[in-house]
Symmetry: C2
């Protein structure tokens, strides 16, 4: 098989041995694989894949057709359309997926959408509902809302009966966030004034967090999801105490298979039905052929996109 391959910070499209599925694994002919910020970090030598996943092939989410299954697989069969979370190795013609990390792709969903669905929706769902205990009527702020996780979070929170304010630097991207369910989409300097917020998803990091903390309601919760705007930030503990607030952080990649299975089960129960019904979308900023990965990564790095950039495998 061929795969996007990181060699000393450069991306190549090179041959690798075909993988073979172990007991609980699916061998998937990848049709589409979404890009995430973590892939750009991995290219630069940070954020390596966890043990058990290809070290030099990036990609944490994919969609494709099951080609073969391990002896103990029970949920999927060859020919099934699946989308999945992997620790790495998604940006390839073939990938191995533990069946507990895979979801059936609803009929109406395209390969490109399915390939860009799992990582961002799992991340947004975990942050909103597990870390921040989002509930009906909550006032929610999503910073850096135009990206993959941001557009997923805005939709999920609105669908769950929250009042969502989206914070987006580029004015031209704001109307789309309102289309996706935000009551307002505003400049980051203005959005905190629309608080107080019960829940905030921080997709920017240090440059944004102090204003977000200051806009929290009593009992508010902030989940840190992105640190593109810096990772080190001064926090005023008295603000945290006075607001009875909490700050949490998480990543999906480092979790165990069992933990990922729990995340995937929650997404299957709570999110996939709304994707199937068309109430949730995967906005696609752009697709690129997989062998043009460098252009796709450059586009991702340039920012200013709405939704996902997805790599498509060659026919």
């Amino acid at each position: 098989m061929r795969a996007v391959t990181v060699v000393e910070g450069d991306l190549h499209w090179t041959d690798h041995p075909d993988p073979e599925p172990a007991d609980t694994e699916l061998l998937v002919a990848v049709r589409a694989a979404g890009l995430n910020a973590a892939d750009l970090l991995q290219r630069r030598g940070f954020y390596p894949a966890p043990p058990g996943f290809p070290a030099d092939i990036p990609g944490m989410e994919l969609a494709g057709e099951v080609l073969a299954v391990g002896a103990r697989v029970t949920r999927f069969a060859p020919g099934d359309r699946v989308m999945a979370l992997v620790g790495g190795g998604a940006q390839a013609e073939l990938a191995l997926v533990d069946e507990t990390a895979a979801l059936a792709v609803p009929d109406a969903v395209s390969w490109a959408e399915a390939g860009g669905f799992v990582e961002v929706y799992a991340t947004a769902h975990d942050a909103l509902f597990r870390q921040c205990d989002l509930t009906l009527g909550d006032r929610v702020l999503v910073t850096g809302a135009a990206g993959g996780v941001g557009t997923a979070a805005v939709q999920l929170a609105a669908l769950a009966g929250a009042r969502v304010v989206a914070s987006v630097r580029r004015p031209e991207l704001r109307p789309a966030l309102v289309e996706l369910g935000a009551v307002e989409a505003l400049d980051p300097d203005e959005a905190p004034s629309r608080g107080p917020f019960d829940v905030a998803l921080e997709l920017v990091g240090a440059a944004s967090l102090p204003a977000v903390l200051g806009a929290l309601a009593t009992g508010g919760a902030v989940a840190i999801i992105g640190v593109g705007g810096g990772a080190r930030v001064e926090v005023d503990l008295l603000t945290l105490m006075g607001r009875r607030a909490r700050i949490s952080g998480a990543t999906l990649r480092a979790r165990s298979l069992l933990e990922k299975a729990a995340v995937i089960a929650a997404v299957e129960a709570g999110v996939v039905p709304h994707l199937a019904s068309g109430r949730l979308q995967v906005p696609l900023a752009a697709t690129f052929p997989m062998d043009e990965a460098p252009a796709a990564y450059d586009r991702f790095g340039a920012g200013g996109k709405l939704g996902k950039i997805v790599l498509l495998a060659p026919d």
Copy 2:
């Protein structure tokens, strides 16, 4: 009645009108009132009492005898021994207490112990079990463990089947923490090396927090309770994400009566039975007559005490 009274940063023992109990209030002849760090802040003009409580009489916890009750009081009667959380005004001969903020004092518990029980045990219980979801077998770190909240937290966590490490600057105070249930009591520079910790109570603040965050286990939780060692601290958000950790903060004082009633109900159910049985103690560092409040405040501010400083009302 006479009361400790803050006048331009000084403490006096002066006359005030006797208070009268409203519908759901108890009029209490105060026998003992514990000192807390917040009282020292209030004396300096910070952390004012919330609306509805005396602005110039400090004190957030007390124990005493019920003298009279409002028309709608159902849980207590004149002559009952009670201990209670108040928004202010505890350091006086008489105080008003909403009956939902009061607890019966177990027979074996002295006035001094009862007067220093509620604020610290409610704070420690809320932090350990509500904010940090402490459970059997958790590895717990308590920093600044020799104070009132610290000694309460060490005892509560140990009683709940956690493995508690206490961090205490002064070597001479460490053996008492082991007596109270810590598996080890160590210097703050050494304690984080005993991690990883599932739960940490941060009673020191900025000077201690970075090392505590670095010692958290995956999924760990830190509750900020004290900021004597500084309130502004640089946090590495990548550490928080990598550990899937959370930082929370809270105070009791600003909560509504209804919220305080929930805290008190949790303490009544979970903590008071263990105080009554003698398994939990209120270590007393010193008691002072109420009219010698300045000496008591100075003693509190000097640090290096084990447990509580409690003011005793004149006979």
